[in-house]
Point group: C2
Chain length 405, copies 2
DNA sequence: CGGTTTAGTTTGCCGGATGAATTTATCCCG
DNA sequence: CGGGATAAATTCATCCGGCAAACTAAACCG
């Protein structure tokens, strides 16, 4: 008997799954709602029977994923609805980040509130990976232990890195701007020196730009679709479709910085990549600023009306616009969000980027592209990491509750 | 402003849906299997109870979507399994195509057999849209009426066009190489002069490259992921993920021909697009062949060892490699399939494309990219269109059967 | 204070998946 | 050639979860 091939978890519908799935639908409906909804509203909007929703909601309340608010003061006739909202401080996700200039942790609960946060600024270019990760673990431990002592259940931890991570569990392949290569990040963080959370709950690892884009998608409610550019020291990016980041086969999608827009510039086609033309170093150099300068120096020069700085940024914006047009032509996104460096430079790059998109994207006459600045706040990748951890609970609360028992 | 997205039918699980969904799972399992499977195998591979599968299969047989084959000669003990296979000649999809050099129709049934086919070669550049579509309707009518008279039920019709189609139902926005703009294709084909099929079953319209990629995905069993390049007169493309074409928001993804790889070449960045650098006209011109020449002339020149032809193709291959590297960096695909012109030139472009991919795609050291020629045969977009029509039956047979009643 | 309206709960029903038992059909061995 | 052994397919009782309708709860209105 030839054993059946390990088929993917095919889409068969079982009744047990049905309950679990609807539990997730109900929870998502409550968490994603812009304002508290009642059981009846939820039933109407999801197309479920009121009785069914009642059962689901009771389950969610018992699991402390949802709480009932005080009945709203309504002016209408009829029994007042009981507003439902995500529980606060009961379940949280942990987002960690190691980047070129800082490392830190942020903890967010189902309601989207930041329960704890700690960031240390430091220049980590070329720093030893093991040392940095030990430092991160030491930084995370007190934050997380304190919350746990307060009764917060942690849904998971996610580490954002400015590099290429193999799957969400695998090693970090390469992080050029940190100078790291083939680092077993999860092993280092789960080691004996690590706090209990991290060894009990092995962190998942993700690309900084992808996780920042997730935070951005969350900040814009309503399942937006856009291409996200994260200009840090390097240039990362991500594709968001209907509110979900598009991971590609290995989670290596959205490497916008490596798009080549000028294939015949130097001896190597890579000399014409977006990062080579519009990365922070390239802009500073073109603006005549020292290599050790920061973005602030460039912004100062722009404010002062420095012509070289303006030309440098204009040139970068042109490359950025062409690269983003390439993205739009390939994945058909309708909006472009500029984060990181380019978010700060937004006013200086918007027009050029928008013009290139209008000119080069074939569908722009019928569906004009929007260019907007990121609005996810500071350290969006930490937020995105925390949200990614929480999403495990949101997509299948029943499954997660079983693991908690 | 396009109408707001029809809010996705929230994925609540209902019991009625459960049956329908599992019916689809069973049908897909039978159709996609490389060789006939039995009810028991199906139950094992999908993780359903044998009793459940029996019920589903009986339903499918009654609906004439599946047929039982004669019990196989087995050498084992036990009751011999009844092999199940997709029914032949009972349900079929119609794929139509209008392209620069030809127009035609192909009809394919659930078993993947071509039931009928008719192609007319002609140069349609600049031809009047209404005239061409009337001609297509006239060409399709006898083919389709004959099949219907023979008892074949038609699942739907899909028209492939070398241009930008708004949604699957909307107008053709632009087809540069045909010289068409804003043509109400569906209306023209559903008009009074059209055969009964087309007015009863308004055709869906798709991009030629996307549909060709669908055929290619079908030809490679097992849900492959790849970027497809369709070099016709223009250069189209598509992204295939896990066997499904990735449509993007409007179905406008994969416009690989419009990727700019040389942003500073001419006065307009568009002068550095892949199509401008590696389109058929550009290659012929660079090879010193007359503009009226066909690809055959270029192939002859290559066979004769003509240096200009070789240089022209090498230059095109370089641009193609860079453009495909951009695609891979953005969507993280592991394979590149060259179709159309580039399929015929495969031997002459493979090495350069593979080299550029290895050099420029950031993840190539850990996941080398494959470059392979298309194997979907001639006129793949017609095949893809027929398959697209059939997929309506495959994904939700219960729903389709209800419409048939 | 009774009628109206809306929210939420209780209850009986029904469809569909399930596993165990049963039937069917073949091979194998004495 | 006949009786296990074995595997496929079907039958049947059970269970689970969503559903509609009836019912209760809590407000407003005149």
């Amino acid at each position: 008997m030839p054993t059946p091939e390990p088929r993917d978890p095919s889409r068969v519908a079982r009744q047990a799954q049905m309950r679990d799935q609807n539990l997730g639908v109900a929870l998502r409906g409550i968490v994603d709602a812009p304002e508290p909804v009642s059981r009846a509203q939820l039933a109407a909007s999801e197309g479920l029977a009121r009785a069914t929703v009642s059962g689901l909601v009771d389950h969610l309340i018992e699991a402390r994923l949802v709480r009932e608010l005080d009945p709203a003061q309504t002016q209408r006739a009829g029994r007042p609805a009981v507003p439902l909202a995500p529980a606060r401080g009961t379940v949280a996700g942990v987002g960690m980040e190691v980047n070129v200039d800082y490392l830190g942790v942020r903890v967010i609960d189902l309601a989207g509130d930041v329960l704890a946060e700690h960031v240390e600024l430091d220049d980590l270019r070329g720093a030893d990976a093991a040392t940095v990760l030990d430092r991160l673990a030491a930084l995370v431990a007190p934050v997380v232990d304190g919350l746990r002592a307060g009764g917060v259940r942690l849904a998971g931890t996610t580490l954002a890195l400015p590099g290429l991570v193999d799957r969400v569990t695998g090693p970090l392949r390469v992080a050029p701007n940190l100078g790291w290569r083939d680092v077993d990040v999860v092993g280092a963080l789960s080691g004996p020196a690590a706090p209990t959370v991290l060894s009990a709950l092995p962190p998942r690892v993700g690309n900084e730009a992808n996780l920042a884009a997730r935070a951005e998608a969350h900040a814009r409610r309503g399942s937006p679709s856009f291409a996200y550019v994260s200009g840090e020291v390097g240039i990362g990016g991500a594709i968001v479709l209907d509110g979900d980041i598009f991971p590609g086969r290995h989670g290596w999608s959205g490497e916008i910085g490596h798009i080549v827009v000028d294939a015949f510039r130097g001896p190597h086609p890579a000399d014409g990549s977006l990062e080579a033309l519009a990365g922070q170093d390239a802009m500073l150099r073109a603006a005549g600023l020292p290599a050790t300068a920061r973005l602030d120096a460039l912004l100062d020069a722009l404010r002062a009306g420095d012509a070289r700085a303006e030309a440098a940024v204009a040139q970068a914006a042109r490359a950025l616009g062409v690269a983003l047009a390439n993205v739009a032509n390939v994945v058909d996104v309708g909006e472009v969000v500029l984060g990181g460096t380019f978010g700060q430079l937004f006013g200086h790059v918007h027009d050029e980027v928008a013009a290139r998109l209008q000119e080069l994207v074939i569908f722009s006459p019928w569906s004009p592209l929007l260019v907007s600045p990121a609005r996810a706040g500071q350290y969006p990748a930490m937020t995105g990491g925390a949200l990614a951890a929480l999403s495990r609970v949101l997509t299948d609360p029943a499954e997660w509750l079983r693991t908690q028992a």
